[in-house]
Amino acid sequence: MNLQWQGHEEIAAPKERVWAFINDPGSVANCVPDLVEANVVDTHHVDAVVKVGVGPVRGNFKLKIELDPQADGSRMNLKISGGGFGSVVDLVAGADVKAAGDASTVLDWSGSATMRGPIASIAGRVIDAQAQRVISTTFANVKARCSS
């Protein structure tokens, strides 16, 4: 099962603060809803355990998150891979990061994910809605923490 998303987010914080926040793997991981634990491996990698509940498929996913920032600070690429209870998720995403005035930042982002295993077959009909909930919650958390 292949899923694709894209979106536009405005964060009420200067670009430098947003850029610094999304370059911190621990901060990014802690914005993911239903996080069980996060272990920062290095400046670009974090291993996370996330509770997943999609339809009848419920359990913990072990995920490897890799941040790949462009040196000029204009774009952040992201890879997430892992899974659990016989399911696998591979996600690739990227966000163009632009300043919108002195106190605001815009993220134009897109992502695609490949799902395999019961999460695709059993939960396939509801996974897209669930994934969009995770994405929106994650961005809400990023906004809140960058703005505070």
Binding site: N2, P56, G83, G86, V88, M115, R116, G117, A120, S121
Partner: protein, 784 residues
């Protein structure tokens, strides 16, 4: 009639609607299935499955799993390689298959490792903690893409191609010429989707190695216990006398319990290594995703005809999706099974069919799901084809069929694709169906409804099956000839035990086998105990699948009973003090010729066999191994009447009539039950079921929330009737019936739906005809 009642006059057993003897224990919850077997010190086995459809295995880390309290072992392909069991031969021996994944996984849910533990829970916990690192590879899930060989499924094979084999039968050039010269031609592609037998009880086993005796006892869900024992011996090197296969009560098989699966092998290895019993019971998801599927044939059907509607030629070209291994359950010399039956009930002057099979990253299989080796696919192709032809000709599909049937006087009838049909009267059977259903009135009603814009359809399927493999000169499984066997022992008091090499999975053998023997010997069927499924006691047989039990083992039973009767004649002659030549079998007892007062019953002879045999060898028993001279050819005429809701696409099956001709009927009530069950499965295939994969190789129907089973709410009301043309070469004239309704009904349903939709210009929709597919087709038809 209750199970305690004796059939009419206590002797005439054949053809009576005896209630099933076995149901007394099933209704009381006293059936004994594999999962009911609990042995001392038993361990439990659970399996790790791949989430990927195609991936290299980088490493398997057992450490965390082995740390789970109760986990005793984690088995991988490397461990199996140590005992030469990493690979085993497939059903017909042309390919080999991994037991556990060797180096890479080839389909989603493939077995990767097995965890053995002291409880099911510990085994399941261990499964979660076996850490398998994969390197994903591009999957190929479409056989038409597999044809390109861009992605290779099986790098282990010498031939670096996804193409498995090409098979053909008939005369290609003459058929092509006949088609080219035909006044009317149709060529259409129909797909018989991948579906699954989904028996109520999934597969399982208890492997019990006795270190003291060196005997491996396998309690397993086996439709063919003897064949499995031989295969296990050949593959493992364990002497066959040290392998004891017991197949207890089985909750449905439908072909699914013919192949050897990873759980069986791993349990046996685990028991041999640990010296204690090991149980493996499959989950529903494991059953649907890893065990033998059925069908998955893409068929191009070409029919030529005169403009009057007389067929001139048939050509069927098929692409078969076999999944990751060539594990199709077909006899050795018939890689596409009996697909040559695709000429159906029709008198084609010439025909040709060919098939190419391909590997894909899907579960392997191709089992004979309630049909005799690809007969359902062939039947569907020709029955859809005849409706396409009727549509092209603008003629009634019943008329087209009646015009082209093989006539009664043509039997035995040699088809252009090599079969010799034994007996039949297709015209009578279809005409009976048309009369019962009220065909003319239904067509009139349909015309009126069409005038009002309503969608009503009538679908006909007049199939011919081929069952009873088989003549051993043609049919074998891995070299083992497909005969079957029976053994009868009559006790001194006139009761007895009947054993056969078959194995009932719900067919009612305990009743029908007793009826056959009772009929031949004039005994009470209620006092004939039938035993199957234990290789230490039953005579060697090839098992129950492909509607072969009655055509082969049923014949063996009748012949063994006749041997008993001949022995009994000698004892009767002694007791009646008459020459053997003067002793006749009349009215279910022996009588001295011309002296009606001098008679003796079989029950009396049984006592004499042990107390007063005279010059004869004591005892009264016989064994018979029956090698049929030909296959049998049951047939039927099915008619479905449907109405379709234009707003939702919902199809209501208003009526369904099945007229079956299975030759001599042993027990009409059991036959009716078989037909009801098969029609219900046929309905599910036509309207509800498909094992589909997405573009990433995800199996989308891994449980019963997605792979739907019809309940009493969905199941239509079945109307049944019969005609009877006995098989001339079968000792009692029986042909087999259990699979006919599954073979014949899908085409009747689809033909009915397409007939309903024809005013909209819709010619074909592939099964399953779910309401959303029908609705989408209707919406698409609105677009100019």
């Amino acid at each position: 009639m209750s199970t305690t009642e004796v059939p009419t006059n206590g002797r005439h057993a054949m053809g009576l609607p005896m209630k099933r003897k076995e149901d007394a224990r099933f209704i009381a919850g006293k059936g004994r299935y594999v999962d009911d077997i609990v042995l001392p010190n038993m361990l439990y086995l659970a399996i790790v499955h791949s989430p990927y459809p195609h991936a290299k295995i980088v490493k398997i880390d057992k450490t965390a799993a082995l740390a789970v309290p109760g986990v005793k072992a984690v088995i991988t392909a490397d461990d199996l390689a140590g005992v030469n069991l990493a690979w085993i031969p497939t059903f017909h021996g042309y390919d080999k298959q991994m037991v556990l994944a060797v180096g890479k996984v080839l389909y989603q849910y493939q077995e990767v490792a097995a965890v053995v533990a002291t409880s099911r829970e510990a085994a399941a916990d261990g499964v979660e903690l076996v850490d398998v690192e994969y390197e994903p590879l591009e999957p190929v899930v479409d056989p038409f893409v597999a044809k390109t060989d861009k992605t290779l499924v099986r790098e282990d094979r010498e031939n670096k191609t996804n193409h498995i084999y090409h098979w053909e039968v008939g005369k290609r050039a003459e058929t092509d010429a006949a088609l080219a010269g035909s006044e009317v031609k149709i060529k259409e592609r129909v797909y018989f989707q991948r579906c699954h037998p989904a028996p109520l009880e999934p597969c399982g086993c208890v492997a019990d190695m006795n270190p003291a005796t060196g005997t491996l006892t396998l309690y397993m869900t086996s439709q063919a216990p003897h064949a499995h024992r031989t295969v296990i011996s050949l593959v493992t090197g364990i002497p066959e006398d040290k392998i004891h296969v017991i197949s207890p009560d089985i909750g449905g098989g439908f072909g699914n319990k013919v192949p050897i699966y990873a759980g069986y092998v791993c349990s046996a290895v685990a028991s041999i290594v640990t010296g204690v019993p090991v149980k493996w019971i499959e989950t529903r998801t494991e059953n649907l995703t890893t065990t033998g599927f059925a069908r998955d044939y893409h068929m191009d059907v070409e029919i030529g005809a005169t403009k009057e509607g007389k067929v001139t030629a048939l050509k069927v070209t098929t692409v078969a999706d076999h999944g990751a291994f060539d594990a199709a359950a077909d006899p050795t010399k018939y890689p596409a099974g009996m697909f040559g039956i695709c000429t159906g009930s029709y008198d084609f002057p010439i025909a040709f069919t060919e098939l190419d099979a391909y590997f894909t990253n899907k579960a392997p299989g191709g089992v004979a799901y309630r049909c005799s080796f690809r007969v359902t696919e062939a039947s569907y192709a020709i029955e859809r084809g005849m409706d396409f032809l009727a549509l092209k000709l603008g003629q009634d599909p019943a008329e087209v069929r009646l015009r082209n049937f093989v006539r009664k006087d043509q039997f035995p009838y040699a088809t252009p694709l090599g079969f010799v049909y034994d007996s039949g009267d297709y015209h009578t059977t279809l005409n009976k169906a048309l009369d019962i259903i009220g065909y003319k009135e239904l067509r009139k009603e349909q015309a009126e409804k069409r005038a009002r814009g309503e969608l009503m359809g009538i679908g006909i399927s007049t199939f011919t099956e081929v069952v009873g493999a088989g003549p051993s000169k043609h049919f074998d499984i891995m070299g083992i000839k497909m005969f079957d066997s029976a053994e009868i022992r009559i006790h001194p008091t006139g009761s007895g035990i009947v054993r056969a090499g078959t194995k009932s999975q719900g067919q009612g053998h305990e009743t029908t086998w007793a009826q056959i023997v009772a009929e031949e010997l004039g005994l009470d069927p209620l006092n004939l105990m039938v035993e199957e499924g234990d290789t230490d006691t039953a005579p060697y047989g090839l098992g129950t699948y492909a509607s072969r039990s009655t055509p082969v083992a049923g014949a063996a039973l009748a012949m063994a009973a006749r041997r008993v009767r001949e022995k009994a004649r000698k004892i009767a002659a002694h007791v009646l003090e008459a020459p053997e030549a003067d002793v006749e079998w009349i009215d279910y007892k022996f009588q001295v010729k011309g002296v009606p007062s001098k008679t003796i019953t079989m029950k009396e002879i049984a006592f004499a066999a042990y107390t007063n045999p005279g010059p004869n060898e004591p005892g009264l028993e016989a064994t018979y191994y029956y090698d049929p001279p030909n296959l049998t050819f049951p047939y039927g005429a099915y008619i479905a009447v449907v109405e379709i809701d234009k707003e939702t696409g919902y199809t209501h099956v208003r009526r369904f009539l099945a007229i079956d001709d299975c030759g001599t009927v042993i027990n009409p009530m059991i036959v009716e039950g078989q037909i009801h069950g098969g029609l219900t499965e046929g309905y599910a295939i036509a309207f509800m079921q498909e094992i589909a994969y997405d573009e990433n190789g995800n199996n989308l129907q891994p449980n019963f929330t997605e792979y739907l089973i019809p309940t009493s709410l969905e199941t239509p009301k079945w109307e049944t009737s019969s005609t009877c043309n006995p098989s001339p070469h079968h000792p009692i004239g029986a042909k087999g019936v259990g699979e006919s309704p599954n073979v014949g009904s899908p085409a009747a349903f689809v033909n009915a739906v397409m007939d309903a939709l024809s005013p909209l210009g819709i010619k074909h929709i592939d099964m399953p005809l779910t309401r959303d597919k029908v609705w989408r087709a209707m919406e698409a038809a609105k677009t100019p």
